[in-house]
């Protein structure tokens, strides 16, 4: 069955002609993948600028930031950020980063580009639906961006948008009018795109693998994308109705999330019968799997890239697949750990805590497998391998803080402090991003046919690696001191002495942010001046290296590849070179 459908896929669409069909409204998964990547790049630049504005204000709360008044005369009169504008920028920062960067690039970006190729297909199972997914995602992004420019400005309830603050409407304060409604609409649209994308990934993985590509022979990155899409299907299927219910509470007079008797801005609100905790349950039932959607592709990508630079397979490839699957499965049982002190029955805190702690086990196994893989290897240091190694380090750092937060008795002190901010930034804002950087430096030669500049890449790595530790490690200490998060300024007696620490973090953030310009410059330089890449510049084994750089529109020039080998035959004795490609019929002495 797989063979017939794979063959059919090679005739799904003919070569596109004309600029628009080739580069804009393209059904080619490679173009779509690059479009997602480009959107993610644009989004991360905006998200990062927002974080600089936030950090400047936190370090120096009366600072006049040039140009800010132009962006929002109400939000920043005299270029000084108001507290409500700080919260709005913070909300947009989180929303943009989690949805349009972290869900977008590692999964929709790299996954779209490489999953079909890595399984030997000519395209995704549903190329037109794939194209639609991108344009729907872009629409969601534009709707969200519109919130900056409407009257009342962007919402200020955080990316988590807890009700009733997010459900009441204009009375709740600045940004809670049209801005919040646009947020709900944008995220609902985003969910639709993600659901369509997940379906595509699943169908492609199950049905379009080429001859000889059994599930066991799929690369770890493909496994990660597949597991991520299964998680995503169920997670986004819950967020979509949640956003619709929120939208209805805001515009249609319903009361899903708002109880009766609320007095906001001196006005008795008309709602009755709703539950604020219901929003939290729905949101976090999505929200927890979402963070694994953000990290699993990075885990797969790093595990896929490291063997090429260690010239040996990962220790325990199949165990790692099991770990990814276990993490995906367990991710649905832990959402209440975001709600330990939320007012839900405290007994459920104990119930949620156990699987939360249990998730540590597959995560620890994966970490030990990475460390154990480096043992006995001959490591080649490239920018891609540096980001992989850096990934392991920051994944450890971020994972360990999770161990504290998973316990309700400790969370009673650390909840809503900078300890939490440190935790999720290490795992999402650093580890997942390192995975994306590793993927970029590794796969850019394949995607655009040119090698990236290694000197610039390494400089980018070093400043970023040291920089992120300078930014996020001190946040643990702030959290232990009880420094509350989501504060626009620090005026409480116990917070004032901590301001110098915030100032240090801000400077580190600005320097690290500036270093990303090196990366951007490298991307541009590569596009125009990078030396041409061969088909297989890294001497790697998986199917993407069996075709040209970049691949032709149907990936393999009309050929149907036959796979003979598992994905990571590196360091093989007696092979021509020290590796055996997946398509090679060469038989070698297996140690």
């Amino acid at each position: 069955m797989s063979e017939a459908t794979a063959h059919a896929a090679t005739h799904q669409h003919t070569a596109p002609t004309g600029f628009f069909r080739k580069y804009v409204f393209s059904v080619d998964h490679k173009v779509i993948g690059l479009q997602y990547y480009g959107l993610g790049l644009f989004a991360v630049i905006i998200g990062m600028i927002l974080s600089w504005l936030m950090r400047l204000h936190l370090g120096w709360s009366t600072l006049a930031i040039p140009g800010l008044e132009k962006l929002s005369p109400v939000g920043a009169p005299g270029n000084v950020m108001t507290p409500e504008y700080y919260l709005s920028l913070m909300t947009m920062h989180g929303t943009i980063m989690v949805f349009f960067v972290l869900t977008n690039v590692p999964f929709a970006g790299f996954g779209n580009y490489f999953l079909p190729i890595q399984v030997g297909a000519a395209d995704m199972a549903f190329p037109r639906m794939n194209m639609m997914s991108f344009w729907v995602t872009l629409s969601a992004f534009l709707v969200l961006m519109a919130a900056f420019f409407v009257s009342g400005g962007p919402p200020l309830s955080g990316w988590t948008a807890y009700a009733p603050l997010s459900a009441i409407g204009q009375d709740a304060g600045p940004g809670q009018g049209l801005g919040q409604t646009l947020w709900a609409v944008s995220i609902a649209i985003f969910c639709v795109a993600q659901l369509l994308g997940a379906l595509n990934f699943i169908a492609t993985t199950l049905d379009l693998r080429t001859r000889g590509m059994s599930l066991a022979r799929m690369p770890l990155s493909t496994w990660a994308w597949f597991i991520t899409s299964v998680i995503g299907l169920m997670a986004f299927a819950v967020l979509l109705p949640a956003c619709i219910l929120l939208f209805l509470d805001r515009v249609a007079g319903t009361s899903f999330f708002v109880p009766s008797g609320l007095v906001v801005s001196d006005r008795l609100q008309p709602h009755t019968g709703g539950s604020p905790l219901l929003w939290q349950h729905l949101f976090w039932f999505f929200g927890h799997p979402e963070v694994y959607i953000a990290i699993l592709p990075a885990i797969g990508i790093v595990s896929h890239i490291l063997p090429a630079f260690m010239r040996k397979p990962m220790l325990g490839t199949r165990v790692l697949i099991g770990c990814m699957a276990a993490i995906g499965f367990l991710s649905y049982m832990v959402w209440g750990h975001h709600m330990f002190v939320s007012g839900m029955n405290p007994f459920s805190a104990i119930l949620f805590s156990v699987p939360t702690l249990v998730i540590t086990i597959p995560a620890t196994i994966a970490t030990l497998l990475w460390i154990g893989s480096v043992y006995g290897a001959r490591l080649r240091i490239t920018t891609a391998s540096l980001f992989c190694l850096g990934f392991v380090s920051v994944f450890i750092s971020g994972g360990i803080s999770g161990f504290f937060l998973a316990q309700p008795s400790i969370d009673t002190y650390l909840h809503a402090t900078y300890f939490v901010v440190a935790h999720f930034h290490f795992v999402m804002g650093v580890a997942a991003i390192f995975g994306m950087f590793a993927g970029t430096y590794f796969w850019m030669p394949k995607m655009i046919g040119r090698m990236m500049n290694e000197s610039l890449g390494k400089l980018h790595f070093w400043i970023t690696f040291v920089g992120v530790y300078c930014i996020f490690m001190p946040m643990h200490y702030l959290g232990l001191a009880g420094n509350v998060r989501r504060y626009a300024a620090f005026t409480d007696d116990f917070l004032v002495p901590l301001i110098p620490v915030h100032q240090f973090i801000t400077i580190a953030a600005l320097v690290t942010g500036a270093a990303q310009l090196i990366f951007l410059f490298n991307l541009v330089w590569t596009r125009f001046r990078g030396p041409k890449a061969s088909d297989n510049p890294w001497q790697a084994t998986s199917l993407e290296w069996s075709t040209t750089s970049p691949p032709p529109f149907d990936n393999f020039g009309g050929k149907q590849l036959v796979v003979h080998n598992e994905a990571y035959l590196y360091g093989v004795q007696g092979a021509s070179g020290d590796y055996v490609m997946q398509t090679s019929p060469e038989t070698v002495a297996q140690d």
């Binding site: 325990g316 460390i371 504290f404």
Partner: protein
């Protein structure tokens, strides 16, 4: 450059660990004093986790650095070595080590948690009503009659100081309720807070009490504790509630029993 990675990684590990041990001048980078009866359980849980995680953090980063150092100095033609035992030691040690740690921490931690949130308040606990609203906390004592008056959302009027929406005209119990903007309690006496919100979700957080509890509109949430040290502490809101969130706070004053009785009598006389 692999050696440089190893060196930088180990330096980062050492410097990070230093600040988990040295807490800055006046210990500003650490928890404040524990002023509650149950706090030692929280602190103990935190320290146990700190030791276990600290060891894992340092060991894993150093091991990563060490293996990277070794692996980048290998000659051309090197035949790779597999970690002794393969993946099995990783799986077994992760399950055993992490498993045992999880079981121990969960067992002890659940008792700590249950002691705070799942046990009933003592019968002689002093009941205090807490209302959170954008952007202030208000506290209510039952007064001489020992009964709280009913609260009515439609009667809330901040301008006249009727924060709780009491109806002293028609509700006898409400007439002697004491309403104040800071929480004053006697030391070493059980306190039972009943918390509610008039608008959005807020949260009650006192670092020195090792207590945090969201205050959810539509719910009446109990929180009980005993303060074991006198002093003035800060109650801060930790659930994003709008533009004034960062300023939403109240003071907790823990007084010796005699002084508290005096204070309460004074407040009652003023009603």
């Amino acid at each position: 450059m692999g050696k440089l990675f190893a060196v930088v990684l180990i330096l980062i590990t050492i410097i990070s660990t230093v600040f988990f041990i040295y807490h800055g001048p006046d210990n500003i980078l650490w928890l404040p004093i524990d002023a509650s009866a149950h706090g030692h359980g929280v602190d103990h849980q935190l320290m146990e986790t700190m030791y276990g995680s600290g060891f894992l953090f340092v060991a894993s980063q150093i091991l990563l650095g060490l293996f990277v150092w070794q692996s980048t100095s290998r000659p051309e033609g090197w035949k790779y070595k597999t970690f002794p035992g393969g993946a099995k030691p990783m799986v077994v040690s992760a399950i055993l080590l992490v498993g045992i740690e999880i079981l121990t921490l969960s067992f002890v931690g659940s008792k700590v948690w249950a002691g705070i949130y799942l046990s009933p308040a003592e019968s002689q606990a002093l009941p205090i009503d807490v209302q959170a609203g954008q952007f202030a906390f208000y506290f209510r004592y039952a007064g001489a009659d020992g009964k709280f008056g009913g609260i009515h959302a439609d009667k809330i009027d901040e301008g006249s100081g009727n924060f709780f929406g009491l109806d002293p005209r028609d509700d006898v119990a409400a007439r002697d309720d004491v309403v104040v903007a800071s929480l004053t309690i006697p030391v070493n006496r059980p306190i039972l807070l009943t918390m509610h919100s008039k608008d959005v979700i807020h949260s009650f957080y006192v670092r020195e009490l090792r207590l945090q509890q969201d205050i959810v509109p539509g719910l009446m949430i109990p929180l009980h504790f005993t303060a074991t040290q006198t002093g003035r502490f800060e109650i801060v809101c930790t659930q994003l509630c709008g533009l004034g969130h960062y300023q939403m706070k109240a003071y907790l004053d823990v007084l010796p029993a005699g002084k508290f009785d005096e204070w309460l009598k004074q407040q009652e006389a003023q009603q």
